[in-house]
């Protein structure tokens, strides 16, 4: 099987990269183990690795364009087993591999997002992420000091991704009990080995993109990654990049495990600001580049364009058109895609470059996404407030449960007795509540609950809080900006319109195979609410000098005098005797007669 693939690939090889690739492929299949001087067994360990790249373009109903890149590196090795030291890395980035083995990481998910995914206009993303940075890690069950590992890991990742992940500490880390299950193999349930943290304030920019691109086997030199010019990617409405590492099945029999590294990048381009009013899109307009080749190291390299709503071409024109059509079940819906295989020469046509062009013709209304959520702080003033989380179930007749996770910093003192869950003006009692109260300056609140959402309804979760007064060194340098509260996470199994594909081993497009599907009737979905910006009572920081002066004066004058008044004993003093009388008394004392 693999050999047949190889032959086809060899035939379609791009001439320029030929030599390099031949060496790589041969090495990978261990045809020349003796040549590199290792024995066969070790060779198999480090060699079996594949790299796939893929881009999905989904024209959105708002007129925007959603482009989603996925790069998947699979490596058939296991560096967690009995202290084996893996030192030969090929496609898998060494920096990450070393981190995984050093900290005994079982699963690692990290995302950096700039902007908020507008579910109501854009539908569902393939892989959701909250604004800012999000990191969640499952550690191996042999780890004894999870918190220590977590702290070191965040600092190391902070260096790798040039991000402020070192700001993750115990005050923003939680251990969710139900919301974050491992996405890879193994059904770990002990959430002591799970750590979850978000940094809603994190700003994502080119400095985070560059290290992310460096993890790719081809870097940004070849393949789909050439499109990633930061001046275009950050000229968009939404930008999100992520790294997901997890153990997966090595083959369809699932006899042994392999490591999967998925790097995803989602970006939404705005028609209005960049399109100059013209509803026309092309790869060149979006990325200021066109494609000329696939990454030579990739076993597959494809572009999918969602044409489900455009069967007769009435919504938009797509050129060049592709003869390849594929269907996939994504997010509970059967979608049709035009496929462009970059490993085939004919894809690039006469000009030897692929520039997809999409011209809008009609307008269409979008179906409401089955689940979306929003959150806001109500009330005014700086003493109290109320957090409202509204969960919208737009399914016309099916009720389904969702898991809501809220992690709130300690300086919002939650009044848990005010927690209410109402749907359709009636109380909706959650069937499961996990609440971990905060400790001042040590850990945040964690609130998880399982709520049943009635069909076609809005469920409102409210809880009141009091704003704490921080110590003066605990304020950020810009305290009047407010303090960020991370997004709440809503995880749900949403009833699917079409039967989901439960066969996890079948060859599917990457974008449809991230969340494992266990049953046909529903699919997993995660929704993040917007983060909140909450103002805390803030002292006027230019005042300390005045306050010190005033306080000192008050203490000196007020306290001093009061103390004086309280401790002094008052007595009526005799007016002192005149001099003559005193002299007379002295003489009298000498004489021994009574004094005057």
């Amino acid at each position: 099987m693999a050999t047949r693939h190889l032959f086809i690939e060899l035939q379609t090889l791009n001439r320029r990269a030929k030599l390099k690739i031949i060496f790589a492929k041969f090495q990978c299949l261990c045809i020349i183990p003796a040549l590199v001087g290792v024995d066969k067994k070790t060779c198999i360990q480090f060699c079996l690795c594949t790299f796939q790249e893929e881009m999905v373009i989904r024209p959105l109903y708002s007129g925007d364009i959603y482009a989603s890149f996925q790069f998947r590196t699979q490596w058939d090795t296991d560096f967690l087993h009995d202290g084996k030291k893996v030192s030969h890395y090929r496609l898998f980035p060494k920096s990450l591999g070393q981190v995984l083995s050093k900290f005994s990481v079982r699963e690692l998910h990290i995302s950096f997002t700039q902007g908020y995914w507008r579910t109501m206009q854009w539908g569902q993303p393939f892989i959701p992420s909250p604004p800012g940075a999000e990191l969640w890690v499952w550690f191996h069950h042999t780890v004894t000091d999870v918190d220590g590992n977590w702290k070191e890991l965040t600092n190391v990742l902070s260096g790798i991704f040039c991000a402020s992940l070192n700001f993750i500490d115990s005050t923003n880390t939680v251990e969710p009990s139900a919301s974050f299950k491992p996405l890879g193999l193994g059904n770990a349930t002990d959430h002591r080995f799970l750590r979850y943290a978000t940094l809603p304030r994190e700003i994502v920019c080119t400095e985070n993109l560059t290290p992310w691109k460096k993890l790719l086997p081809c870097g940004s030199k070849a393949g789909l990654a050439v499109l990633m010019k930061s001046e275009k990617l950050f000229h968009s409405s939404f930008h999100s990049q992520a790294v997901h590492i997890r153990p997966v099945c090595k083959d369809w029999q699932c006899t042994s495990t392999a490591w999967e590294l998925r790097q995803t990048l989602n970006v939404v381009f705005d028609l209005y600001t960049s399109g100059q009013g013209k509803k026309e899109w092309s790869l060149f307009k979006m990325f200021s580049r066109t494609l000329t080749e696939a990454c030579p190291l990739a076993s597959s390299s494809k572009i999918y364009v969602d044409v489900t709503d455009n069967p007769g071409g009435e919504l938009f024109d797509l050129s060049p058109s592709s003869p390849l059509i594929s269907t996939a079940v994504v997010l509970g819906d059967r979608r049709t895609y035009s496929v462009y295989d970059l490993t085939k020469k004919e894809t690039f046509g006469q000009l030897r470059s692929l520039n997809l062009l999409l011209r809008w013709k009609g307008e269409n209304d979008m179906l409401r996404p089955p689940l979306h959520a929003e959150r806001y702080v109500s009330g005014f003033g700086l003493q109290k407030g109320e957090i409202h989380t509204c969960l919208y179930n737009s399914h016309p007749y099916r009720a389904y449960p969702v898991l809501l996770l809220d992690s709130l910093p300690w300086y919002l003192r939650l009044y848990v007795h005010t927690l209410t869950v109402t749907s359709k003006t009636r109380e909706n009692k959650p069937s499961y509540i996990h609440y971990q109260p905060s400790k001042d300056r040590l850990r945040p609140h964690l609130l998880e609950m399982l709520v049943q959402l009635p069909p076609h309804s809005v469920t409102e979760v409210t809880v009141q809080f009091e704003r704490a007064l921080l110590k003066w060194t605990e304020y950020t340098p810009d305290p009047n900006h407010g303090f960020y509260i991370g997004s709440s996470v809503i995880s749900a199994l949403v009833p699917s319109i079409v039967a989901m594909d439960t066969n996890s081993t079948r060859d599917r497009p990457l974008f449809s195979s991230f969340f494992p599907t266990k049953e046909e009737s529903s699919y997993f979905m995660r929704v993040y609410t917007e983060p909140l910006l909450v103002n805390l009572p803030t002292p006027d920081f230019s005042m300390p000098y005045n306050v010190i002066c005033l306080t000192c004066t008050v203490v000196a004058v007020g306290y001093g005098s009061f103390y004086n008044l309280l401790t002094r004993t008052f007595q009526v003093d005799e007016p002192s005797a005149p001099l003559a009388k005193r002299l007379a008394n002295i003489i009298r004392r000498l004489r021994g007669v009574p004094l005057l």
Partner: protein
């Protein structure tokens, strides 16, 4: 303290204070008034300056090109408004959606406690339309608001047109870091109130509204446009908000800076700035400007749509286009650029506006008086109350020669003293409660029995209760404790003086202007009143210095300062409408001036009235 712990020196000080009490009080009063009037003199004030670094150094370019198109939109809006006979909700939704905004509507209803005759409304139903321009790559945490009211008749169409024009232009820019909400509200302040309560999910005034569907995080600042003509000669800045709250001074500075940059005439209180501060006319001009601000602030009303935002800690100002007979006109493009510049600078803000002053008075747009400068004027006035109280305290403490012979004499004034003080306090507060509640409650009865409208009924009932309070049998303490004693009225006056001092002090901290105006009239009455002055003359003086008459003087003064003097009859009608507006403001927006006057200031004044008629 050292002085006070020495009995001899203490005696000396108190004797000095009691001996010279009246002259000191007179000097304090005159000094207070003089200090206040001096605030308008330019050399005594500070020049305004931009405190916020994020707005000062960052330059923005104004490029808004499509003023003409905005005016065309305004005409289209006017046509649709006329066709629908109200707010063209559908057209607005369609237009905003076509511009690429997320559009939402909110309908609201509010039953007024009694008909508002000046605006001819009683049961208000309306719809607010707002579009949110989502900033690219921003997580919906911060927003700015631009609002324009959809007024009845032919007014304010240009504001809506300009708002839509700005929305279209802003949509194609990429530099936004905060979401921008474009709000077109119906029924002016009621609509804004409904929208703000909906946005913050509170209900403080009993408004009925549908919940908002779209939000954009915490609102950092708001600007409100009022524009009635295609060209304007000047723009007027309105700052005074609900309960005398003011936006951060930097917002005023920002407006002034852009007016200077774009060469647009700008005014505050409708008055241009003059350069001749050293002439009498120049001084009078700035004194008038400042007095207008004081009067507006004291009224506690929101003087523009921005006024309601301030409660939610949103810095806001209204900008009003004025078209007079001046030669030099400014077109819509320039006004659009002014707004573009202001919004861009607000967009650059990292923190809420907090660097500059929140408590200030403005004798002109380039000059301001901060709280540290104006508070002494008020302080001098309240000192009088404290000095009088001290005087009374000393008199009460020194035993009169008559009581020296008997032990029981010393105690006798204290036991009836408590009751004789408590009774008038309770009675006058009950009168206050009646004044606060009865006018609205009894309007139906009044309408049945008298040939008046509801509004008149409310106002006339209020005045009737106010007057009836004067005639109440205040000497009830005699029923309980026999003849009122000399000690009795002194204790009562001491209590009343301290009460007034605390009351005015607290008021001035929240709303300086209101506190100061009340102090100017109430303090002389409070300081002078005793049972031993000629009754008729003092009674007239007391009434003339009562809170109700203070409002009447303010109405006349305000008209005088606005250069539209009114005759006595017109002034009286205005006075009546001011009272009804005050009650309405309290019911609709939660303005606190009416309850303050009815529940606290008026009863306090009644105590002094009681002392005058002490027997």
């Amino acid at each position: 303290m050292g002085l006070l712990s020495d009995p001899n020196r203490r005696k000396a000080i108190t004797s000095l204070l009691t001996r010279l009490n009246t002259p000191i009080c007179v000097v304090c009063y005159l000094a207070g008034i003089a200090w206040f009037m001096g605030l308008a003199f330019e050399p005594f004030t500070l020049r305004t300056y931009m405190s916020e670094n994020a707005m000062g150094s960052t330059m923005v370019e104004e490029r808004f090109p499509s003023g003409e198109r905005a005016l065309a939109t305004a005409r289209e809006f006017a046509a649709h408004k006329k066709k629908v006979g109200g707010m063209p909700v559908d057209w607005l939704v369609k237009t905003m959606r076509a511009q690429g905004l997320e559009v939402f509507t909110q309908s609201f209803s509010r039953n007024l406690p009694f008909p508002d005759e000046s605006k001819e409304r009683f049961v208000v139903r309306g719809t607010n339309v707002y579009g949110i321009l989502r900033a690219p790559r921003a997580p919906r945490t911060e927003a700015l608001v631009l609002s324009a009211p959809c007024s009845p008749g032919n007014s304010n169409n240009q504001a809506v047109g300009l708002l839509l024009g700005l929305a279209q232009y802003f949509r194609s820019q990429i530099y936004w870091a905060k979401d921008i909400i474009f709000l077109v509200n119906e029924h002016d302040l009621i609509g804004v109130q409904a929208w703000l309560e909906g946005y913050h999910h509170t209900n403080i005034t009993g408004m009925g509204y549908t919940p908002l569907q779209g939000r954009a995080g915490s609102i950092q600042a708001a600007l409100s446009l009022e524009l009635n003509s295609d060209v304007v000669t000047s723009l007027d800045l309105v700052l005074e908000g609900l309960n005398g709250q003011l936006p951060n001074l930097d917002l005023a500075n920002l407006f002034h800076a852009f007016c200077q940059k774009l060469g647009i005439l700008c005014t505050i209180q409708g008055k241009l700035q003059r350069s001749d501060w050293d002439t009498v006319e120049g001084y009078t001009h700035s004194a008038q400007t400042m007095l207008l601000m004081v009067l507006k602030q004291a009224s506690g009303r929101p003087w523009g749509e921005h006024g309601l935002f301030l409660r939610y800690h949103i810095e806001a100002a209204s900008i009003r286009g004025v078209n007079s007979f001046r030669q030099y006109k400014t077109d819509a493009t320039s006004i659009g650029r002014l707004f573009e510049g202001m919004v861009r600078k607000l967009n650059n803000l990292l923190e809420r506006l907090h660097q500059s002053y929140f408590f200030y008075l403005m004798p002109s747009l380039t000059r301001f008086v901060s709280i540290g400068y104006y508070m002494p004027a008020f302080g001098l006035l309240t000192t009088i109350l404290l000095l009088r109280a001290l005087d009374l305290w000393v008199h009460l403490g020194t035993p009169t020669p008559v009581t020296e012979d008997g032990v029981g004499e010393g105690e006798s004034p204290s036991s009836p003293g408590l009751l004789s003080v408590l009774t008038p306090v309770v009675i006058s507060h009950l009168t206050g409660v009646a004044l606060y509640t009865l006018p609205v409650l009894s309007q139906e009865m009044a309408v049945e029995h008298f040939p008046v409208s509801e509004t008149e009924a409310v106002v006339l009932t209020a005045i009737a209760i106010y007057t009836a309070g004067l005639a109440l049998p205040h000497n009830t303490h005699r029923l309980i404790s026999g003849e009122g004693t000399e000690q009795g009225w002194r204790v009562l006056k001491l209590v009343a003086l301290l009460y007034l001092a605390v009351l005015l002090g607290c008021t001035a901290l929240i709303n300086f202007s209101l506190g100061f105006i009340l102090a100017v009239t109430l303090v002389p009455a409070a300081a002078c009143v005793t049972p031993h002055v000629p009754k008729a003359l003092s009674a007239v003086a007391m009434v003339l210095l009562s809170p109700g008459c203070t409002i009447l003087y303010c109405v006349f003064l305000f008209q005088e300062l606005q250069e539209v003097p009114v005759s006595l009859a017109e002034g009286w009608m205005l006075f009546l409408s001011v009272i009804s507006q005050g009650i309405l403001d309290h019911a609709l927006y939660g303005s606190l001036v009416y309850p303050l006057l009815a529940l606290l200031v008026y009863p306090c004044w009644l105590l002094f009235w009681n002392i005058l008629f002490w027997k």
